[in-house]
């Protein structure tokens, strides 16, 4: 007995990117695949044996030209749990201080057969620049005020895990949007997955031009408290602000700080998120940050590890092993 055809098979989800540069270029399906993969890696973190051999023999360089502890530590742990070998390079310990260009430093890393470079840089587009020039996988860990894709992914993961879905939710992002790569990546990710986004902040930090991205802009935190499913508070990035964008901290807290009193107006199932580091008493009151019901700030950290493992795993799987260096005949 013979059959002419067999039943059609479903299309398997695809990840073809060697790099993770930003959320903007990802499709909703790619984001969902990454979040689904992260869910399995989160399970690994709950076991006695927290390490899997997926990236055994691969080398990862954490190349952080801008300072960071939480993101760098998270990527380092993620790489170790995937059995990759990890090196950390900071701006001060690299030859950048000797005047070497970013590209030359990166080419030196590639010549050492580094498989993955995790890059944090103060210039927007730095990750894209290297991704186009290197065979190694480039993971963007924050480029200027442009994108911070793994932060947005861990925020999406946290929301989806808590609420079961993202589509149809209303998310407020409060504070320093202008200088925030976290905000941009989050806006793109949330909109792609079907959420409604409202930005809250003074006109100096949240110019109306953001409305072109497809989000709403309001000027007072009180306007969103009773209606949002998620409130994501961003840190005031003093280090990026060359002039005063608001009269004073007191003024800022009055209009935009999530105080104890304001937190009472939140819906009972509203999630409070913060990418950290927290300025307690400024964008969020200490008691609110530690609120056991609403606050998911530490869950975000746990989920960040799982999301970064998923990003490293998928990008490493999509990139071919580096070919041996071309040999020149004498």
């Amino acid at each position: 007995m013979s059959l002419a055809t067999e039943p059609s098979r479903p299309a398997a989800p695809l990840w073809k990117r060697k790099d993770l540069v930003g959320i903007q270029e990802l499709s909703a399906e790619e984001i969902t695949l990454l979040l689904d993969t992260a869910r399995q890696f989160k399970q690994v973190g709950a076991r006695d044996v927290k390490k899997v051999p997926a990236l055994q023999g691969r080398t990862l360089v954490n190349f952080f030209v801008e300072p960071s502890t939480r993101t760098r530590t998270s990527f380092e742990l993620a790489a170790m749990r995937l059995s990759a070998d990890v090196i950390n390079i900071s701006a001060s310990s690299s030859s950048l201080v000797k005047g070497e260009s970013l590209k030359d430093t990166a080419l030196v890393l590639q010549a050492n057969n580094v498989d993955i470079v995790v890059l944090r840089h103060s210039s927007a587009g730095a990750a894209q620049f290297l991704a186009e020039r290197l065979r190694s996988s480039i993971i963007n860990a924050g480029d200027g005020a442009h994108e911070h894709p793994t932060q947005a992914l861990l925020d999406l993961f946290t929301i989806r895990e808590r609420r079961g879905h993202i589509e149809g939710l209303h998310v407020a992002i409060v504070g320093d949007i202008l200088f925030s790569r976290v905000a941009r990546s989050n806006i793109w990710g949330l909109l792609k997955l079907g959420a409604k986004v409202t930005l809250v902040g003074p006109s100096t930090l949240v110019p109306r031009v953001f409305e072109r991205m497809g989000v709403a802009v309001v000027r007072r935190i009180d306007d969103v408290l009773g209606t949002v499913d998620v409130i994501n508070l961003l840190r005031i990035q003093h280090e990026r602000q060359r002039r005063a964008y608001f009269p004073g901290l007191g003024e800022y807290i009055n209009l935009f700080g999530l105080t104890k009193e304001r937190a009472r107006c939140l819906r009972p199932d509203c999630l409070i998120m913060h990418p950290g580091p927290i300025n307690r008493g400024v964008e969020i009151d200490s008691e609110v940050a530690d609120d056991p019901v609403h606050s998911v700030i530490l869950e975000q950290v746990t989920n960040g590890l799982a999301v970064r493992m998923a990003a490293l795993y998928l990008c490493a799987a999509a990139s071919r092993p580096l070919p041996p260096a071309p040999r020149k005949e004498p």
Binding site: M1, S2, L3, A4, T5, E6, P7, S8, R9, P10, A11, A12, P13, L14, W15, L33, D36, T37, R39, Q40, F41, Q43, V44, R47, D48, V49, K51, V52, P53, A54, L55, Q56, L82, Y313, L314, A316, A317, A318, S319, R320, P321
Partner: protein, 203 residues
């Protein structure tokens, strides 16, 4: 399971002429025989500490069927688990297509149990090698045995099944497609088909 059995393979081999190797009756007979062998080999006492663990995706329904048949015959329900080997494979960037990782769920007290790994098709042995490592991360079973519905030969590692539904020789450019339908066992079947590249079966 049907969906998963096909999800790993390349779409280029879609709608290709194929030969039926086993129909639903043949599959049912093979499963009964395998269940009997597992019972005989492990003994009535052994069944109480037995776990049938399916390898995602093709082995999950096989494990479910074997556990059910053993329960029907002996009145003892073996523990059931699933394992996804994606994170333990040694060929990460050689796979034609990366599929989403599924949850791994294993019985809690693995150290006191005998595990029967179940997969639909046994080919190179590399999936089983990865599954052995994956199970090892969760504990140290007293013994691990292997049950496969089809052993198509061409193994590349010193690993072989303990329980086999059907054994056959195949060529490298052939592919064995298995449909174990949890909802409609009458549609169970195994086919052999040609692919247009060598190593058509996901290793």
């Amino acid at each position: 399971m049907f969906d998963g059995a096909f999800a790993m393979s390349d779409s280029s081999s879609l709608a290709r002429p194929s030969t039926l190797l086993m129909d639903a009756d043949a599959v049912a007979r093979a499963l009964r025989r395998m269940a009997d062998q597992i019972i005989e080999h492990n003994g009535a006492k052994g069944l109480e500490r037995l776990a049938i663990v399916g390898i995602h995706t093709g082995g999950v329904e096989l494990a479910r069927r074997l556990a059910h048949l053993i329960e029907q015959a002996e009145g003892v329900r073996p523990a059931f688990g699933v394992v996804d080997v994606s994170m333990h494979r040694d060929d990460l960037s050689q796979r034609p297509r990366l599929t989403s990782i599924q949850p791994t769920q294993l019985p809690l007290d693995l150290d006191t149990m005998t595990v029967v790994l179940a997969d639909d098709v046994f080919h190179t042995g590399r999936t089983v090698r990865a599954a052995l490592d994956a199970v090892g991360d969760f504990g140290r079973p007293r013994a691990i045995q292997l049950a496969v519905l089809v052993n198509r030969g061409r193994r590349q590692l010193p690993i072989r099944p303990d329980y086999t539904g059907k054994k056959m020789s195949t060529a490298a450019d052939e592919r064995v497609a298995v449909r174990l339908d949890g909802d409609a066992p009458a549609r169970d079947a195994v086919w052999l088909e040609k692919t247009d590249r060598r190593g058509g079966q996901p290793a």
